[in-house]
Symmetry: C2
Subunit: 340 residues, 2 copies
């Protein structure tokens, strides 16, 4: 079978030095003469030695591991929004740059976070609205660096990366208003106070108010954030009775489903109804018609989270613990002035 693991001892023996010296060479600590260094390095190369992370972690109480914690849907399923891939790859790319590995973990409503302590995780990135406040608090109490993304918390002592959701809601709505729309429906996921949809909804209201257009609660459609949710909402939104001429969907997924649903009903976008999405998912550009949307840079969001994490790991004081990323309206073909 495979020979037993090569240890620092084997290296020391081969290089005819002590294990402490080998350790020093590896970590660049202490003082080592160039000649010894060379000998050791050669021995390492020859034996193809790789220091055991477990042993090192045991000593240092670190792990070079950070976890991306994503809330689970029903039945232990992870969110199926491919959006998450961009987030995760942004995180992985940055983490790799600072020699951290990323472990992906779905967390259910009644699971324990014991693995965090078991694994000596160096940090956590919580994605999405976390209701499990007791758990989160216990993490913070343990002194494990945490970053919250799109979270509900409003505590300035928390490290957070968020999007200027209110502004996003505002500019999307404003775009439709400036085209001349007044009966603008809002297609949103669940409106949880403090959550992303909630903030966007606030921006929607602000835009309406500024334009002197009355806010009508009956134009707010709360549906699951998915293409299917959007598709299903189409029939209700498209009903002539509402007189709706534009819809602001708070995710591209929902917007795409909506457009499809409207299309299947014979309602043409943007001629009959204008649609604005949110995210600027890659597919938005390739829709027919191409989707006007509010752009956010998800990969950048992931990178920012890692930056906030490493700032904590390295005890860098940060001017602002909460980073709010910008949004941008991307006008395409799914919006047009209302037809008379």
């Amino acid at each position: 079978m495979s020979a037993s693991r090569v240890t620092i001892k084997d290296v020391a023996k081969l290089a005819q030095v002590s294990i402490a010296t080998v350790s020093n060479v590896i970590n660049g600590t202490g003082r080592v003469s160039p000649e010894t260094q060379r000998k050791v390095e050669q021995a390492i190369g020859q034996l193809d030695f790789a220091p055991s992370a477990s042993a090192r972690n045991l000593k240092d109480k670190k792990s070079s591991l950070i976890a991306v914690v994503v809330p689970l849907l029903e039945k232990g399923r992870l969110q199926d929004n491919p959006f998450y891939w961009h987030l995760v790859r942004g995180i992985e790319e940055s983490a790799r740059g600072v020699k951290l590995h990323v472990i992906l973990v779905g967390i259910g409503p009644d699971e324990t976070f014991s693995f965090v302590r078991e694994q000596h995780l160096d940090g956590l990135i919580f994605v999405g609205a976390f209701a499990r406040t007791e758990l989160v608090e216990s993490m913070l109490r343990l002194g494990v660096p945490c970053v919250f993304m799109d979270s509900l918390v409003d505590d300035p002592s928390f490290y957070q990366v968020a999007l200027d959701d209110e502004l996003g809601g505002y500019i999307g709505t404003k775009h439709l208003l400036s085209l001349g729309h007044e009966r603008i429906a809002l297609l949103t996921g669940v409106l949880l106070e403090g959550g992303v949809n909630y903030c966007r909804w606030q921006g929607y209201r602000r835009a309406l108010e500024e334009a002197g257009v009355p806010y009508r609660p009956e134009l707010v459609y709360e549906e699951p954030t998915s293409s299917l949710g959007g598709y299903r909402a189409a029939s209700r939104i498209g009903a002539k009775t509402g007189g709706i001429t534009a819809v602001f969907a708070l995710s591209d997924m929902a917007a795409i489903g909506l457009v499809k649903g409207l299309h299947d009903l014979g309602i043409v976008v943007p001629r009959d109804i204008s649609v604005v999405g949110f995210d600027d998912d890659e597919r938005a550009r390739y829709c027919i018609p191409a989707l006007t949307t509010v752009r956010q840079d998800i990969v950048e969001k992931g990178r920012t989270a890692v930056r906030l994490l490493t700032a904590q790991l390295e005890r860098e004081p940060l001017a602002e613990r909460r980073v709010t990323l910008g949004v941008e309206l991307v006008p395409r073909q799914s919006t047009a002035p209302p037809s008379r």
Copy 2:
């Protein structure tokens, strides 16, 4: 600051037993009287003790960690195909079920795999065509269980999960043939011998051959597997000169870009040109027109990979080390008989 870590010693002291007994209680090993067990469990609960994975790993030379290894694009970027999310979540969901954690790692063309040994990884899932054969071989030599997904290797001793790509290529093409198309273009990513596109291409050829339609190399368009790649191919494919009436795109991403590109050229799908995609990405259903495509279950692919991995970890002999998942044609609205 936070009190120093709770160890098994503290538990032992509180429960007034030895650490060995505590260890036995935790792992269900040895023989422990019910009363002692209760005492220990209470102490664990009281101290909120979580055993150190590092220490355990050091002892056991395990880590309960598996890595999903994804080849990097240029500049350390991870693949941006959201497709990967479904794969990764399939893996995570299954891994969680068997108490394994998933670490995501992008691997570049000249990076070393040292982290695999450093972290004592229990297993690896290689995704995509891996050219780094030396590295892979060194992993196998180390005895680290590996599973290859969509790989180039054709060695039956390797654990692999693949798709019946040849059949996928066949049924997609056959569908178009049966509608009456003859000049069927193939829009593919890079054709690497043994790779997924290559197999699908073989299926395409077989279908043509069976139908007595001559294979024309000039109808094969090798473009990057992306929406942009598809979009760019549109002008060449749509040129009247080719007389192309149908296109089989080997990914939904490319198909969607293609449809958009054709649309922008005033070419209507499926009236002027039929399009078939591959994957059955969620978005395929919500396209306008909804995309006919060859369906594969990516989440299942991830689950299967974990199954193959755990089979190795538990030394279960497996009848077949290579699992080939099926494909299925999903007819939708992007295909129709050719117009005269």
